[in-house]
């Protein structure tokens, strides 16, 4: 985590007191029961902070009346935008669609079920004012989760932490505030297999964490189960790192090396001592040699496959937090995000 968090001293505090417009992106799949309370809670919190805002609802192909409820809320509360996806694309894509349409100087991503309390946004705006580009909310405790779920979640983070190239902070969901700069960076990553936690971590930028207590669901039931968690973990690990590929490559090479050694051992043993079973040394050496060669070839192919995988994502090479131009470049638009 230390890798990801830059010390606060390196940020330039913003001159504005608050974002001119705060977009609240909220992907929703079958959340008709939660939405009205969500809008009321957000409105109350924003009024308390004196913060101009818009809500960007993303209807992820809901099969209930979610879209109708959104449209009704949009009529009664003006500051609501609706992105109606053509079918169910999954939460990660829905979040991206919302970010694409968000117009604010800062964007908050949060769930509709009020498990992410809107009051936390005040602390996030404060972080924005201090100059941070990403202010993410970390759960203080996983109240309401079973012991098994807590254990598997912590195991997942431990694995990601150990093998990941970029650190994904633990107990941090999608609930976060991002500056316009960070949002543009996230939107520049257009890969189809989207592990948002990995993407948020990959883009970097000065980040700060805010602690909060996760509330129980306000309405509706959770769509969470273990098969989903398993697939999400596989998705997360394989889309953000090449570690499984690397591990199996080295595992394959080690096995091939051991096989060659064993083959050599059998050849020497037969030459010097002979073998009671005719044909056995030949068989063993052939099996070891072929198996070893196959593993080496697979390892090499795997190495290239990893490269192809990284290239097909077509990510930008880097993001700059800030560019300080020389005098000759000064007429160029300093301070804007440059995508490498």
């Amino acid at each position: 985590m230390a890798k990801q968090l830059r010390a606060a001293t390196t940020t330039n505090p913003r001159t504005e007191h608050r974002p001119a417009l705060l977009s609240i992106v909220c992907p929703a799949f079958n959340e008709e029961a939660s939405l009205p309370a969500f809008v009321v809670a957000v409105e109350a919190a924003m009024r308390a902070f004196g913060q101009p805002y818009e809500i960007v609802f993303v209807n992820d192909g809901s099969s209930d009346g979610t879209l109708g409820v959104m449209a009704k809320l949009r009529q009664t509360h003006g500051a609501i935008a609706i992105v109606d996806l053509s079918r169910n694309f999954g939460k990660e894509i829905a979040t991206t669609a919302g970010l694409d349409q968000a117009k604010g100087d800062a964007v908050v991503v949060m769930d509709a079920d009020l498990q992410d309390p809107p009051e936390v946004i005040g602390a996030m705006i404060e972080g924005w004012r201090e100059g941070f580009d990403v202010v993410y909310a970390r759960r203080r405790e996983r109240r309401g989760d079973s012991a098994l779920k807590r254990l598997t979640a912590s195991l997942f983070y431990k694995i990601i932490h150990r093998i990941g190239v970029v650190d994904v902070p633990e107990n941090v969901g999608d609930f976060r505030l991002m500056s316009r700069k960070a949002v543009n960076a996230v939107c520049a990553l257009r890969e189809r297999h989207r592990f948002m936690k990995g993407i948020f971590a990959w883009v970097g930028f000065p980040s700060k964490e805010v602690l909060y207590d996760r509330a129980p669901r306000s309405a509706g039931s959770t769509k969470w189960n273990y098969w989903r968690l398993w697939n999400l973990s596989i998705e997360g690990i394989t889309s953000s790192t090449l570690a499984p590929l690397k591990i199996s490559t080295y595992f394959g090479f080690a096995t091939a090396f051991a096989a060659f050694l064993a083959g050599l051992f059998y050849i020497l043993k037969t030459l010097f001592f002979g073998d009671p079973v005719p044909g056995f040394p030949t068989l063993v050496v052939i099996v070891l040699f072929l198996g070893g060669i196959q593993l080496m070839v697979l390892g090499v192919i795997g190495e290239y496959l990893g490269r192809v995988f990284n290239e097909t994502k077509q990510r930008p090479l880097y993001f700059a937090t800030e560019i300080y131009p020389s005098d000759t470049q000064a007429k160029e638009d300093a301070g804007l995000l440059r995508i490498g």
Binding site: S63, G65, A79, I80, D84, L85, T255, Q294, T312
Partner: protein, 349 residues
Amino acid sequence: MSAELIRDDAPPPMRREALRPALLSIVCPAFNQAENLTAFHSTVTAVMKTAQQPFEVVFVNDGSTDATLRIMRALQAQHGNTTIVDLSRNFGKEIAMSAGLDHARGEAVVLIDADLQHPPQTIVQMIEGWRDGFDIIYGVRSDRQRDGWLRRMTAAVFYRLMGRIGRVPIPENAGDFRLLSRKAVDAIRSMREHHRFMKGVFAWVGFPARAVAYDVAPRAAGVSKFNFWKLWNFSIEGLTSHTLAPLKASTYVGLAVAFLALVYGAFVVGETLIMGNPVPGYPTLVTLMLFLGGVQLIVLGVMGEYLGRVFNETKSRPLYFTNEVSFGDSGVASGVEHRDNIGDRRQPT
């Protein structure tokens, strides 16, 4: 999965204000259809005249070896509203349809076969669906009685399989005969992958969809170019371009077999250590083969997982499509109109 609608529980879409599309493009891919084209064109013209629907016909000549192109030319000379896309060789029906969609200018587009097995009269019902606000109105064959039982059974198995394993279900018995709104056409055109399984593409783009039943007429002329080898290849194409299921399945089978092999290897080692083995060398050989085979399968499984991801990335599909984006009236968001519903735009740098 119900066969009726792709979004069968979703609330009905908003009705369109227009009574009919300002222009309806009728896209008709044709491969060696010289005998059918004239009858097809006159039937379509008659139906459209009755429905008072302005239309254009977009013929795609998919490298025909007979007089298809000449007849298209003759029809074009007689009727001004005919476009011909003459492909450089035979590219197959899926690509020919895409070429037709690229050159259709209508507010709505109908995809239809030239052999009159898709009755043009059904287009009238499809236009009704368009007016009701649906973006995709697909024809469903009301009876497949003329097909042999074997063909019917294999088709049923195929759809069941696709419905079970695909993330995006494909409606059963829906062919290529369908009406697409401009929004849906633009979405489909933005998907440029080379291995095109059109039924999968139609389902993947989403949008509110409705089914319209139609009776298959017997072929007007010529023979069907369909056979079981083609159906088999078509199924493989569909399965592999629409889903990663075969890859996932072989990964899990491989991992399971590797696990069993390693367990059995350990068992053989243990047995030999404790009880000995009457055949010298046998335990060594078996253990080695099991171990090496197991490790190979594990490595292949991990590679398969990455290959699946690479495959999905190389298709370069947009991330999502939207039915509609409606903006709030606060701040800078107000008054901004976005007509683009394709989520593949990179942010301006």
